[in-house]
Symmetry: C2
């Protein structure tokens, strides 16, 4: 089986550029990479992404929303992730179940036991081999993601939401240190990349040998 | 809480006309009825029904299909069924979870434990107060539902599928006799209606008093 690596974090922490960096690192050290994202990654997943967004005004029931997310995930696993892992490829996925814990569980305060039941139902024992959470204070993410104007009342509310999302991510890293790590994304890009390199080596995704090759 | 009644059966057993008959009976004896159906009954449910049908050619993964069905059901419960029951209305639903056991579990031979896990996740302890399964041999249903030409190879295959669906329905009625009953739908319409009347009384949905009123 190939390695399954997921990248997580709130808006503005540099997910896109670091995803590209990780892909290049892995390929430089001989990994055959499949890069994908959630929700999406399949025809059905993209259709459900559309449904989740277009129906957001109508106050879809929380249970229906969670089931749709996991339906998209089940399809993604069956059609993209598992076939690639079975071929020995390395799958690099932009967000996965940890995002459900962070956004729905933390941000929207849905019952995490319900999430964990669906995680077991859909994934069985499959968990990412390694999850990298890019962590930065919400203000840092916001400042990078959007304009720097003073937040209004609604943006303040969003801040509290993202504070809960961030706290849930930190909580996950504390509970599952063998498979989830935090990277401090509030520092400069080179320092972030250095941390990522070290973590990939620590989690045995990159050989220490290829690490020193890349650094040299 | 109002009563929750569901009507089940394979194609051609007379679900539509008997649904109307049951609604009239219930209203005649003072029930405030809400008639609905699955999949569907909500905007999201109808959209998912469309997805389930339009993607059927692409061989959607079995897990994704089951999760979508239960997502539609969760929305239906939250938006239509539970609010009506809480107002004391009687909900009469054309197909519900028993159809998932019969069609996906029996017909398509998906794992029934998986169905039962999702049933518990979505419904908690809620089960219909009464499920009426209109039962008839597959040939009888087919003859009523379609033309009477000789079945070709593919129709034969469908016969085996519907045999499994019917067997699963019979099995459910045997396992849950306190809430699920079979009605022999292979006989004439009046005799079918007489059985339905008796069952509604037996399951305490209609008072024996209103039964004799109606029969008189």
């Amino acid at each position: 089986m190939g390695k399954f690596i997921t990248l997580e974090g709130i808006e503005g922490v540099g997910k896109t550029s670091n995803l590209r960096f990780i892909k290049e690192l892995l390929e430089a050290s001989g990994h055959d990479c499949v890069v994908t994202r959630e929700p999406g990654g399949t025809n059905l997943g993209e259709a459900l992404r559309g449904l989740l967004l277009s129906h957001s005004d109508e106050n879809m029931s929380e249970d229906a929303e969670l089931l749709l997310m996991f339906a998209a995930r089940a399809e993604h696993l069956a059609k993209v992730i598992l076939p690639a892992l079975e071929k020995g490829q390395t799958v690099l996925c932009d967000r996965f179940t940890e995002a459900t814990y962070a956004y729905q569980g933390g941000g929207r305060q849905l019952d995490t036991d319900s999430i964990s039941d669906l995680e077991d139902w859909v994934q069985g024992e499959l968990r990412p081999d390694m999850t990298i959470i890019l962590d930065a204070p919400v203000e840092v993410g916001r400042a990078r993601a959007s304009s720097r104007s003073e937040p209004d009342r609604i943006e303040k509310e969003q801040d509290e939401f993202f504070q809960r999302v961030r706290a849930a991510y930190i909580d996950l890293a504390e509970h599952y240190p063998h498979r989830i790590c935090l990277v401090d994304a509030s520092v400069g890009i080179e320092e972030v990349q250095h941390q990522i390199l070290e973590k990939l080596s620590e989690f045995d995704i990159l050989e220490p040998q290829s690490l020193s090759d890349i650094e040299a």
